[in-house]
């Protein structure tokens, strides 16, 4: 499809680069924007610019944040002796929603995947080891039950155990093959309560 205007074409192009957006949807979204008033468009554009400018990784847990350290890491109410290790920032949100967990997080930013050339050095594993202090009592491994997630759990267990801290993993209530992000809150709550020592 070639549109009559290059401005339209360019926006359609950007939208179709987004995940799960095809050209038809991209076109519909573009038409929607065209019908909004300038104020909406300006705020929308500015919010995108702010997104990139203001968001960074927390220097402690590697979650997205505007303030470093992030609100969770700086909160007085959190139990600083427990660290829950997850793959992605979205997993932090999923676990936070359960209201069952009051410790800290550590976002690995991925899992070990030789086929995609992701080795332990590419993940925030060194940073995790540096974070573990004398007052750390427990590390909870809450990775997805994929092949790569399982192996990353085993790998972390191997290097954490010699440090003399309690290492647990969340229970397998999570349906096989389902990402944490999509597990319902009840399932996740049970999985966190029912974690087992490894």
């Amino acid at each position: 499809m070639i549109y009559t205007s290059e401005s339209i074409e360019r926006v359609v192009e950007y939208f179709s680069n987004l995940p799960s957006i095809g050209r038809k949807t991209a076109y519909r979204l573009t038409m929607f924007l065209l019908n909004q008033n300038s104020d909406f468009i300006e705020k929308f554009a500015q919010s995108l610019i702010n997104l990139k400018q203001n968001i960074k990784y927390c220097s402690q847990c590697y979650n997205f944040t505007e303030l470093d350290p992030c609100p969770i890491c700086r909160s007085e109410k959190r139990n600083k002796s427990i660290i829950c290790v997850v793959e992605e920032p979205a997993d932090v949100n999923a676990i936070e929603k359960t209201n069952e967990y009051h410790g800290l997080y550590h976002v690995l930013q991925g899992v070990i995947n030789p086929l995609e050339n992701i080795s332990p050095d590419d993940l925030k594993i060194r940073e995790l080891l540096q974070r573990i202090k004398s007052d750390t009592e427990e590390v909870i491994l809450a990775l997805n039950p994929s092949t790569e997630g399982e192996v990353t759990t085993q790998y972390l267990t191997k290097i954490l155990k010699p440090l003399g801290i309690k290492v647990t993993r969340i229970a397998r209530g999570v349906p096989m093959g389902l990402s944490l992000e999509f597990a319902d809150e009840a399932t996740l709550s049970r999985a966190i309560q029912g974690r087992v020592e490894v």
């Binding site: 070990i112 030789p114 050339n117 332990p120 192996v151």
Partner: protein, 381 residues
């Protein structure tokens, strides 16, 4: 499971076929290229998410169209309805819906509408490489057990990952023992479960195979299927094999072979190297069976697969026989049809020459005849 109704839209040369079936034998006949096999393919897509032919989904769409769709109305053994809908739009992800839910993957379909398929291409099961027989066994076990299917998918992924890691270790960089042993541990855990399941299969399946072979064959040969797992020694075959025993043997093997694996950059042990031998009079069928024996072996294996699934699964499978009667002599055709009628199996049999079958067999009233021409279906009972 019984398939009651099938709707095929824009699949190969079927523009819009609505077919109702007999709960017993359905003969699908017509000239070559009429669209007989497409009906079996449509059923197969509803039970495995893909066709049994080596055709890409893009190529299955009727010329000049953008998509195909299939919907299948079934009835479970308990009498409840089970529906499957598969829609494929060119260049998009296949949309699968069933009574189980929306947005399913092929994995979710497998085992729900269990299916036994036989086409002339399957000759390789008795005559081809060990891989063909592993595929044969895995297809049976995957339909029996969601856990096996899940373990198998994870196993294949783990094997690929472990190989990728091993091949990378050939490059000069520091070798991470912890990482290698984590992948090995995962590999051995999954391998043990797969080998254990295959052992159980090999204990039960030959009984079905032998009884089918002697029913169909007029000779008195003895046949068998024997499991030879890689790295798990067979002289312990007498005792009841446990999961722990297999795990320990694989652990030991992993240790012995580790250095060679690192040198070769490849996983050198595990169930991807298993063999299932098909024996006839204690010789390997692959080497010594005659043409006629191969055909009888194959059809016996397939009917045994049906019997095995019927007994071990909660749901009775359906049978898809694609043009196999042209391969068998009259005597064997009559025997196969008789077995299908005696077991009340719902079967879908394509053939060019229906007269040949009708003249040799006594069909009961519930048999349905569907004449296919240019992708159109006509009932001729």
């Amino acid at each position: 499971m019984i398939i009651k109704r099938l709707n095929i839209k824009k699949l190969r040369n079927h523009s819009n076929s609505e077919i109702t079936f007999s709960p017993l034998i359905n003969f699908i006949y017509g000239p070559n290229g009429a669209g007989k096999t497409t009906i079996l393919e449509a059923i197969h897509i509803c039970s495995f998410g893909k066709t049994f032919q080596p055709t890409q989904d893009n190529q299955l769409i009727m010329k000049g169209n953008e998509s195909y769709s299939i919907s299948c109305r079934c009835q479970t053994d308990l009498g409840t309805p089970y529906d499957v809908n598969v829609e494929f739009i060119h260049g998009k992800k296949k949309q699968i819906r069933s009574s189980l839910g929306e947005n399913l993957s092929s994995k979710n379909l497998i085992g729900e509408l269990p299916t036994v398929v036989l086409t002339p291409d399957y000759k390789i099961i008795t005559s081809g490489s060990p891989n063909e027989r592993r595929i044969f066994v895995d297809k049976i076990l995957s339909q029996c057990s969601k856990i096996y299917l899940d373990d198998l998918i994870k196993f294949k992924k783990t094997l690929k990952q472990r190989n990728a890691l091993l091949s990378k270790e050939n490059f000069p960089r520091k070798f991470d023992e912890n990482l290698f042993s984590s992948w090995t541990e995962q590999f051995i855990q999954l391998s043990s479960k797969i080998i254990y399941k295959r052992y159980t299969f090999a204990e039960e399946f030959p009984r079905y195979f032998q009884s089918m072979y002697s029913d169909i064959s007029s000779e008195k040969e003895k046949v068998n299927l024997r499991y030879l797992p890689d790295s798990v020694t067979a002289d312990k075959y007498e005792m009841k094999i446990s999961l722990d025993f297999i795990y320990d043997m694989l652990r030991q093997r992993a240790k012995e072979i580790e250095n060679v694996e690192k040198k070769r950059g490849l996983t050198l042990f595990g169930p991807q190297k298993d063999e299932f031998e098909i024996l006839i009079n204690d010789g390997l069928a692959r080497d010594i069976a005659s043409q006629g024996q191969h055909k009888t072996l194959l059809v016996s294996l397939k009917i045994a697969e049906y019997m095995y699934l019927k007994e071990l699964n909660n749901e009775t499978p359906v049978i898809l026989f694609d043009d196999i009667f042209s391969e068998l002599d009259d005597n064997r055709i009559a025997k196969v049809v008789k077995i299908l009628q005696n077991t009340d199996a719902q079967s879908f049999i394509t053939t060019v020459n229906i007269e040949k079958i009708l003249s040799k067999t006594e069909l009961n009233l519930n048999t349905k005849r569907l004449f296919i021409i240019n992708g159109e279906v006509n009932e001729t009972n």
